[in-house]
């Protein structure tokens, strides 16, 4: 043992920190159109490589190329563009609202708009998303009223959740949007259970689970994969890899695996990686995975490669832990600009129409905001009552809560 060298702990570090020059040269990006599109009933082993590559449709010139292209009409794509623009505009207004003290907290999607917007497009009515706090695009793309979202964010008297829940933790059963938890990863396994229930009842609905790169480290992620793998649950297991978990770079959660998609392979679950900033690619992969689920072929794991351009939340300042210009260096570009350029190239859009759309959307968002504000904000106007606070803990209020409500005098 005398010649044994002492051990040393390996602690992964991001390539650069504030003050350094952003460097994404380690992110290997295949050409658009390069990754094949297998049949949906293929086994996970046969498509191992897809967990280590990146499926892309839009190339640098804005053309849609390769086997994953050609699924959406120009109308669909203009819809998609509008959804993304709406989400981005909504985010900007709500960030401002938070700074103005109209609410306590907000979380934006900047740079990640394509993922939730394009995914929702591939779902059918009745399907259920189990989202995190960064998938409001699912709501927007499914037509949920913006004013209702803002009322939730303001915790005002029209908040559908009666002021009980933190801003952005929406819920809408009719829009297939499961009540968001503040606890990370808990809902990943619930999505699997929901999907199992659909299969138990011989239903046709499928579920979609959502998680961030950082949160894949949580134990519930494992439970979800175990149950999905064992019972072949009709669920799409989405991982949004936006490179950061608050101040922690994705290497801390990922460890020695090349990718997050690789996790699925240990369970025999087909796993794909996709350019998360490419609306067409996201939609195509979502459709593929959803079809697998719908045809009872079991779960699919999808890793969306993207970048969190904004702060983690309004409580966060990313300049403390990463170079300010890192987002500019991100090699996959901006999802809105890329789709816009594609549509223009197709002759289905123009700079002018884009400006007009932006203006219209801003107007719509402002109108929704005004509507919401007519019902108050967190610190002004009528609030959900203290009486509401005691409701809904149980279907029927038990004696001890009745006593407490009485004591509170409400």
């Amino acid at each position: 043992m005398a010649d044994i060298m002492p051990l040393a702990l390996h602690v992964p570090e991001p390539a650069v920190r504030p003050g350094g020059v952003p460097d994404f040269s380690s992110v290997k990006i295949p050409k658009a159109g390069a990754v094949p599109r297998p049949e949906v009933d293929i086994g996970s082993e046969a498509i191992r490589d897809l967990a280590f590559s990146i499926i892309r449709v839009l190339n640098r010139n804005g053309e849609a190329v390769g086997p994953w292209s050609g699924l959406l009409t120009d109308d669909d794509l203009r819809d998609g563009l509008r959804h993304m623009l709406t989400l981005r505009t909504f985010d900007a207004r709500m960030l401002l609202s938070q700074r103005q003290g109209k609410t306590s907290f907000y979380m934006q999607h900047l740079g990640e708009e394509a993922i939730s917007c394009a995914f929702q497009k591939a779902l059918s009515p009745g399907d259920m998303n189990f989202p995190t706090y960064r998938q409001a695009g699912l709501l927007i793309a499914s037509g949920y009223p913006l004013a209702a979202m803002i009322c939730q964010i303001y915790s005002n008297i029209r908040d559908p959740l009666k002021g009980r829940q933190l801003p952005v933790l929406y819920s809408s059963k009719p829009h297939g949007f499961f009540t968001v938890s503040g606890n990370l990863a808990t809902q990943y396994v619930q999505a699997v259970g929901w999907a199992m229930a659909s299969a138990i009842r011989n239903d046709t609905k499928i579920a979609a689970a959502w998680i961030g790169d950082g949160s894949t480290a949580e134990s519930d992620f494992h439970a979800a994969l175990v149950f999905a793998s064992t019972y072949k649950a009709p669920v799409v297991l989405n991982i949004v890899n936006n490179q950061w978990a608050i101040s922690t770079f994705q290497g801390i959660a990922r460890g020695g695996a090349g990718t997050f998609a690789a996790r699925g392979l240990g369970f025999g679950i087909p796993a794909l990686r996709v350019d998360g900033n490419d609306y067409l690619a996201v939609h195509a992969v979502a459709q593929w995975a959803i079809e697998r689920a719908r045809r009872n072929l079991g779960p699919t794991l999808v890793e969306y490669v993207t970048y969190r351009v904004g702060a983690h939340s309004t409580s966060d300042d990313p300049s403390a832990y990463r170079p300010k210009t890192e987002s500019d260096a991100w090699p996959l570009g901006d999802p809105i600009i890329r789709l816009k350029n594609h549509l223009i190239l197709q002759g289905a859009w123009s700079e002018e129409r884009h400006k007009q759309a932006e203006a219209e959307i801003l107007e719509t968002v402002i109108a929704a905001q005004k509507e919401a504000e007519s019902f108050g904000t967190l610190h002004s106007g009528e609030k959900p009552s203290a009486r509401e606070m005691f409701e809904g803990v149980y279907a029927e209020m038990p004696p001890h809560l009745l006593r407490q409500r009485q004591r509170a005098g409400v």
Partner: protein, 337 residues
């Protein structure tokens, strides 16, 4: 009425509900083909098929996590945690999720879920097959917590729990599965068939959650107990000759405070008994409530008899267990105080 052991009554409750309601599903570790390590689900897979009753991976968080999703979909899962000692990996799903879906979604999503688990000691199971974690659930808003003490109650309460629109923690005192147990471990085991509470109605019957039962009327002191301790308290009363009024709480949340308070107002004295460790056990809440509600009736301090604040030991099981001698001593002290 058919005679049933507690295991049979619990199984029958699930059987009745699975037959009546297609949305009731049962799963957990070893509950499918084998029928559960305590045989509470024996025969259900054969009768209702593998998609209604099945074996789960050894993952308590996965069992409860998937069950929460199923409940949100519209099923009524009734899952088993093999021993209450193993519920902790599922604690987050119970506390942060099952208990809060209704509240945070303003009723859009609900969680009609039952989590069954064998609880308590007395079988030389050591520190990981003996725990009584009920207080960890009674502190959590949104949960109901039930602890039956006999076959009749077990069936009626389990059916009510499955029918309940909210999550219910259903703790089954494992030492009572096959016969009543009054703490005299050195005496021969009696089967349930000789106990009147093994007369269990056939078919559907539910007992309301939130109603205690007075199992022995008395005037000298009120004893609050649940699960195994109901039987121990009865033995202690008989052996000391103290005219105790013994109340079986049956459900801890919601609690039948009216019945408790009426009794203590009458007797002026109160002894609380549970098997869980003393500190921050459910007995603390009971003592706090009783002194608050009945302060001007109380003639003696409320006493608590409970498991000691140590892990449940193997060799010293009967030193740990709050048996009739310890309960009897507290009765005597309280009556004399």
């Amino acid at each position: 009425m058919p005679r049933m052991s507690m295991v049979e009554a619990i199984r029958d409750a699930m059987d009745v509900m699975m037959a009546r309601d297609e949305t009731v599903v049962v799963f957990g570790e070893d509950v499918g083909y084998f029928g559960g390590v305590f045989r509470c689900t024996y025969g259900l897979q054969q009768k209702y098929g593998t998609t209604r009753c099945f074996d789960a991976p050894v993952s308590e968080s996965g069992i409860v996590g998937t069950a929460v999703g199923m409940a949100a979909y519209g099923l009524r899962p009734c899952v088993e945690i093999q021993f209450a000692d193993y519920v902790y990996p599922a604690y987050d799903q119970i506390v942060s999720e099952a208990a809060r879906l209704r509240y945070r979604s303003n009723g859009e999503f609900t969680c009609p879920l039952v989590v069954r688990m064998p609880t308590g000691g007395g079988i030389f199971g050591g520190q990981t097959h003996s725990q009584s974690p009920e207080a960890l659930f009674t502190h959590v808003s949104g949960l109901k917590t039930v602890v039956p003490s006999n076959p009749y109650d077990a069936k009626g309460l389990l059916i009510a729990a499955i029918e309940d629109p909210d999550p219910v923690i259903f703790l089954e005192p494992k030492r009572l599965y096959n016969g009543p147990f009054d703490g005299h471990h050195d005496r021969p085991i009696t089967p349930w068939s000789q106990h009147e509470a093994s007369d269990v109605p056939a078919g559907h019957f539910a007992l309301p959650l939130g109603k205690a039962s007075v199992v022995r009327a008395g005037t000298a002191v009120t004893v609050l107990a649940y699960g195994t301790m109901v039987h121990v308290a009865q033995a202690a009363a008989a052996e000391t000759g103290i005219d105790a009024e013994i109340i079986d709480l049956r459900t801890l949340i919601p609690l039948d405070l009216d019945t408790l308070a009426a009794s203590v107002a009458k007797t002026g004295r109160c002894v609380i008994v549970h098997e869980a460790t003393l500190t921050s056990g459910f007995g603390a809440e009971l003592a706090a409530l009783v002194q608050e509600t009945c302060f001007f009736h109380l003639e003696a301090p409320i006493a608590r008899v409970a498991g000691w604040d140590t892990p449940y030991p193997h060799a010293q099981e009967w030193d740990y267990f709050p048996g009739p001698a310890r309960v009897g001593r507290a009765l005597a002290e309280t009556v004399e105080a």
